[in-house]
């Protein structure tokens, strides 16, 4: 029983990442009608915002310590981060320790800026172009972005730990008298994604801005006829979608050390998630994200794998095929969106 609960937790956690990426992807599909193959790269850039903050906080000055030697036998240069020098080792150490949460503050403006520049500088010119062209140009952009990151940070994964106090495990089952230990940061990640998803939905639901955007998703021309500048709002939506992907990336870094191609790893899966959820449906994307995450976790249980060997390799694709064949437009897709 607790094994199943544990896998549900794992699934929700994986699903959080899928859902956050898919949410942004759907927003861009829905509002701009653009197939954005660079969306995974935005997730990756977010993760590298965290790496950058960690590096910045660790910027150090060097003092030569004549008593110690480095690997070549020369005097060792001892590094002390400026932050520690300024705030004292305790306070400074704590700031460095909290690099990942701090990176959120750093990532929001960066990601909105990246999204804005991407949309105004490139995507804008591709609204009326065929989807094939959009795929080619955004794929090219994704390659360029990840190669640039690789140039500066290398190809190896870079460890970016969570703050010490959030790094342990917590017994979630204590309340119901069961023993379900789970990493604290993963709980944080799940809650974080719930907050972000909730935030996006209430933003779209309860603000006039959101209402206009939703109306624009349904019928762009009519909204345009009302004299509302829908394009500008869509640009802002693109920035928000980029920020959501970026934040998902920032928070993901302690779970798995980021590397430059993590965006591509998530790209295909998030496309599957979006399509299974149904084109143009935000709740569909979120639902599909969590559903596929949970199913993927179940499929990796030994009990299941012993019945169908290798099922964990293909579960996502099997589920995608079954859903698309039984529900023509995915879980909650709207008619006529990206069907031709």
């Amino acid at each position: 029983m607790d094994a199943i609960l544990l896998q549900i937790l794992n699934g929700l956690d994986k699903g959080s990442a899928y859902a956050l990426i898919a949410l942004g992807l759907t927003l861009i599909f829905g509002t701009l009608g653009v197939v954005n193959f660079a969306h995974g790269a935005l997730f990756m850039i977010g993760a590298f915002c965290a790496v950058t903050v960690q590096r910045l906080l660790n910027l150090s000055f060097e003092v030569v310590d004549p008593d110690k030697t480095d690997f070549l036998g020369q005097p060792l240069k001892v590094k002390t981060p400026y932050v520690e020098a300024w705030f004292g080792p305790e306070m400074g150490g704590a700031i460095i320790d909290w690099a990942v949460p701090l990176a959120i503050l750093f990532a929001i403006p960066i990601m909105i800026g990246v999204g804005y520049v991407m949309e105004r500088g490139l995507i804008k010119h591709f609204y009326k172009r065929p989807h094939a062209d959009q795929i080619l140009v955004t794929f090219g952009l994704a390659i360029v972005l990840q190669e640039v990151v690789k140039y500066f940070y290398g190809a190896n994964p870079i460890q970016t730990p969570a703050p010490e106090s959030l790094n342990g495990i917590v017994n979630l089952g204590a309340v119901i008298g069961m023993d379900i230990v789970y990493p604290v940061w993963r709980v944080v990640y799940f809650l974080f994604s719930v907050v972000i998803i909730g935030g996006i939905f209430s933003f779209l639901q309860f603000t006039t801005f959101g209402m206009v955007v939703r109306a624009g998703m349904a019928d762009r021309e009519t909204v345009g006829l009302l004299g509302i500048n829908i394009d500008r709002r869509f640009t802002i939506m693109f920035g928000i979608a980029a920020a959501v992907a970026g934040l998902a990336g920032v928070m993901y870094t302690p779970i798995n050390s980021p590397n430059y191609h993590m965006g591509m790893d998530f790209l295909v899966l998030s496309f599957v998630v979006v399509v299974v959820g149904g084109m143009g449906s935000l709740p569909g994307a979120v639902l599909a994200g969590f559903m596929l995450g949970v199913l993927e976790s179940f499929a990796s249980m030994n009990e299941i794998k012993s019945i169908i060997p290798g099922i964990d390799q293909i579960i996502i694709y099997v589920v995608a095929i079954i859903i698309l064949l039984t529900r023509p437009r995915g879980l909650m897709g709207r008619k006529g969106v990206m069907e031709d």
Partner: protein, 400 residues
């Protein structure tokens, strides 16, 4: 000629000339010169050009004509390769049965996947094909290892039970692939001064098959069937209300392009008898999509150009290292030389992906019709120049 219109005939002849003289055309720089790095006229790369050309031509029959964007075509190429290698292992080292089997198996496989996937259209179709291909890849890499030899790829061994032929040659090697005794790897070399041109038997087999494949694709483009496929892309609703059943049309296009992919896979295995699972990965499927769009989807020659373009960068640019750069700029003063090397360094060698990404973007931004449109613009420009800068005729020619 050959039942083709004049324009198509001349295009076929141009392609024939280009492929037959490729060993010369692709080797413009004398060996040993600084630019020899850019020579592409060696057998392996020439084979890849034409094989991926065939793959892209086939993909274009589906995507270019019907607009159905398959993201899983690499699976058919992979299946073709596996069938061919199994044929080498079990039957004979002759490439003909291997290629025939790979086309048949890929055709059957694409019939199955197409039948299911074509129940949906648009992006739903794309994701279905992607899902099937990724399943094939993941299984080939792991669970199906007894058939596919997993990570390493299926290869020949010294104890293959070859029915027609020997398991190992007299000197203890694995026999090589051949066409009725003519070895695919045999290469004839022509040295003219500092130039060295290589004529490889395998390449010429591939080239002849490419010409046949290209010819067949012209016929398909110009046939009523091809017109129906373009009509599917244009307006399915009207098709249905004109008494035409679109499903068999799209399925036939899907299977034909799957068989082209299988042919490419079979040829690949015939040139180099190894079938790796990565051939079926989504990145490989994505590659043929990129080739087609980059060259010009829906045009006859575009996909071949796109295939050549990408393979050239993959194989030539990835091999330029700092040593090569230094040798290029060694005539400059040291400081300038180092500056140039530093400047170019990120774009070559391990940075070849970056260059490719940038070129994707540039092509699609400035040449919406792909490389073919670039060619047309140059031709138009040249024509204008020749005719003394007269105003261009307003008539736009359909992209071919």
């Amino acid at each position: 000629m050959f039942g083709l219109e004049k324009r198509d005939t001349s295009m076929l002849i141009i392609v024939a000339v280009l492929t037959m003289f490729a060993p010369f055309i692709l080797n413009p720089f004398p060996a040993g010169s600084a630019l020899a790095q850019f020579n592409a006229g060696y057998p392996d790369l020439m084979q890849r050009f034409v094989i991926f050309g065939i793959f892209a031509i086939g993909f274009n029959i589906l995507f270019g004509l019907t607009g159905y964007l398959s993201f899983g075509h690499a699976a058919f190429l992979g299946v073709g390769s596996y069938s061919a290698v199994w044929m080498f292992k079990l039957l004979s080292m002759n490439v003909i049965p291997a290629i025939i089997l790979s086309v048949i198996v890929a055709g059957l496989f694409s019939l199955l996947i197409g039948f299911v996937s074509l129940r949906r259209s648009g992006i739903y179709f794309s994701i279905l094909t992607l899902a099937f291909a990724q399943m094939s890849f993941n299984l080939a890499y792991s669970v199906l290892t007894p058939i596919t030899n997993g990570e390493t790829g299926l290869q020949l061994t010294l104890n293959d039970p070859r029915v027609l032929g020997v398991s190992a040659t007299a000197d203890g090697s694995i026999p090589v692939t051949n066409l009725f005794g003519m070895e695919m790897r045999s290469t004839f070399e022509l040295a003219v001064g500092p130039w060295a041109f290589q004529f490889n038997a395998g390449y010429y087999l591939c080239a002849v098959i490419l010409l046949l494949a290209f010819y067949l694709s012209i016929r398909i483009f110009r046939s009523p069937f091809g017109m129906m496929l373009r009509a599917v892309k244009s307006n399915q609703q009207r098709m249905n209300y004109t008494g035409l059943n679109t499903r068999p049309y799209t399925l036939a296009a899907f299977v034909i392009s799957g068989m082209y992919a299988g042919l490419a896979g079979g040829l690949m295995a015939s040139m180099d008898p190894l079938a790796g699972a990565e051939r079926m990965q989504w990145t490989a499927s994505g590659e043929v999509v990129l080739m087609t769009i980059l060259g010009g989807a829906g045009t006859l020659i575009g996909p071949v150009l796109g295939a050549g373009f990408i393979k050239y960068f993959e194989n030539i640019f990835s091999k330029i290292n700092d040593g090569v750069l230094h040798s290029w700029f060694s005539f400059m003063p040291d400081g300038l030389e180092n500056a140039m090397v530093t400047l170019i360094h990120p774009f070559v060698g391990k940075g070849w992906h970056l260059t490719l990404g940038i070129l994707f973007m540039l092509v699609v931004i400035f040449l919406p019709g792909g490389l073919v449109e670039g060619g047309q613009r140059i031709r138009k420009w040249a024509k204008n120049k020749r005719s003394g800068g007269e105003t261009p005729t307003g008539k736009t020619e359909p992209a071919e």
